[in-house]
Symmetry: C2
Subunit: 306 residues, 2 copies
Amino acid sequence: MSVQFRRVALIGIGLIGSSLAHAMRRKELAGEITGFARSEATRAKARDMGLVDAVFPSPGGAVEDADLVILCSPVGTYAALAAEIAPALKPGAILTDVGSVKGAVVRDVEGHVPPGVHFIPGHPIAGTEQSGPESGFAELFINRWCILTPLPGADTQAVEKLSEFWRGCGSNVEIMTPEHHDLVLAITSHLPHLIAYNIVSTAADLEEVTSSEVIKYSAGGFRDFTRIAASDPTMWRDVFLNNKDAVLEMLGRFSEDLSALQRAIRWGDGDTLFNIFSRSRQIRRGIIAAGQDTAAPDFGRGVPKP
Amino acid sequence: MSVQFRRVALIGIGLIGSSLAHAMRRKELAGEITGFARSEATRAKARDMGLVDAVFPSPGGAVEDADLVILCSPVGTYAALAAEIAPALKPGAILTDVGSVKGAVVRDVEGHVPPGVHFIPGHPIAGTEQSGPESGFAELFINRWCILTPLPGADTQAVEKLSEFWRGCGSNVEIMTPEHHDLVLAITSHLPHLIAYNIVSTAADLEEVTSSEVIKYSAGGFRDFTRIAASDPTMWRDVFLNNKDAVLEMLGRFSEDLSALQRAIRWGDGDTLFNIFSRSRQIRRGIIAAGQDTAAPDFGRGVPKP
């Protein structure tokens, strides 16, 4: 594949930023990659690993002359970053991001974007529970969806070029409004993380069951939740602070439904339990058929060595 | 390894029963395996697959002359099964089970056990989301814990012999009271399943987000919950009907904690969110160190083919 962008700037070099660097290298999507990281340790790591061709201690330095600028830090940092990089953005450049919320990103960034710069918010639905520049890998985006939420009147050529970039990383691309994105992700990502964090916290606070028992017998289901709950706390704090309405709406529905299950348990209503429990297999099958999870039992964690 | 039991009867041949059959064959833990299944289809499958040496349409037939009898059906069936097999149990035999609750199993079974038969309730903390005689595999119990809850005055030799059997299947064995078992499993297994079933149900009922969107963007976290929620509905209905008090207790704590998170989101209290989210990584590390989950990111689901 021919080089699509002459210079790409990664603002933040964590799991997503470093995975993008690996993918761009492998698929030759960028002539040159520059990077910004707030911490010297991350900058040194990005340099040593060859993730970027040049790394800067200021975001303005990293974006200079870049054709594509990708915000890859927690969404709570975007407002200040946008203000800082705005004067250095090149006319004709595309400015995008990978944040897990989109309405708040538009709110925080749009006002700073200079005329002639194409601001196209984005969100790759991909990740692992790990963080930092060493956790990235080129295959992270393959077969995953990347949602773009261009603003009304966005330049269609720029949107298409950014879509091509994500397809080059292996993703499928979907376009929707920021509002719809935030509602969809509230149920498919934000609420799952919230209740995973919550059950781990509940378990840690028990008096009658020790932490070592929780750990020992976690294969009964609990261990699955601890993976999601091991995700980056800063990133997730910012998600919940910036998608409040949709998360509270989904949380309200979840709690109502949970109360109905609680009532069925209290009153011994086995039919209600059975009927609710019987609905899930179809959705699981749909996810496997759509290539969004493995069909192997137990995620293929498979067989521990004897 | 020498044969430990001359004849073992499996009462129920689903995921756990068939996995036990595979493990017994591989490790030569049984001279002969008999089985009972309510449905003719399961009996035919168990016969055709060679899981058992003889299969019976009545549980009484299967347990005749057996030295070890293992109840492997949903716990709601145990009372009737115990009444039915009691007259056919051989003096000196061990009667055990694999049910996910233990207090209710003691309540339902103990009164039926004839003098001279050793009743030792048990629970292997192992499984997948799949069900039926074709879903079993010999390695299911390796490195997993099996909890035994012998009653006061239980025969220590019989408890040791059953422990050896589970060690032969690859498990570690722990002894505790039925009450403590039910409390521990309420948090490590029952509550995780309940909230997984619940969020899948909440997602299925949304008006603004379609099922196909939930499926498409499930890699954001939701897909993990659908695996657990694809577990057998009959088995799980019986668990919740039979561990009511402990589940309601844990559910009450979970809901309280969730309300605190909800309040923090509503009021924009980022510090509370960050502090709660920061506690989880340690428990995750403990689970990996204890060999109860893979250290590979994203459960090692790894890299979809390009």
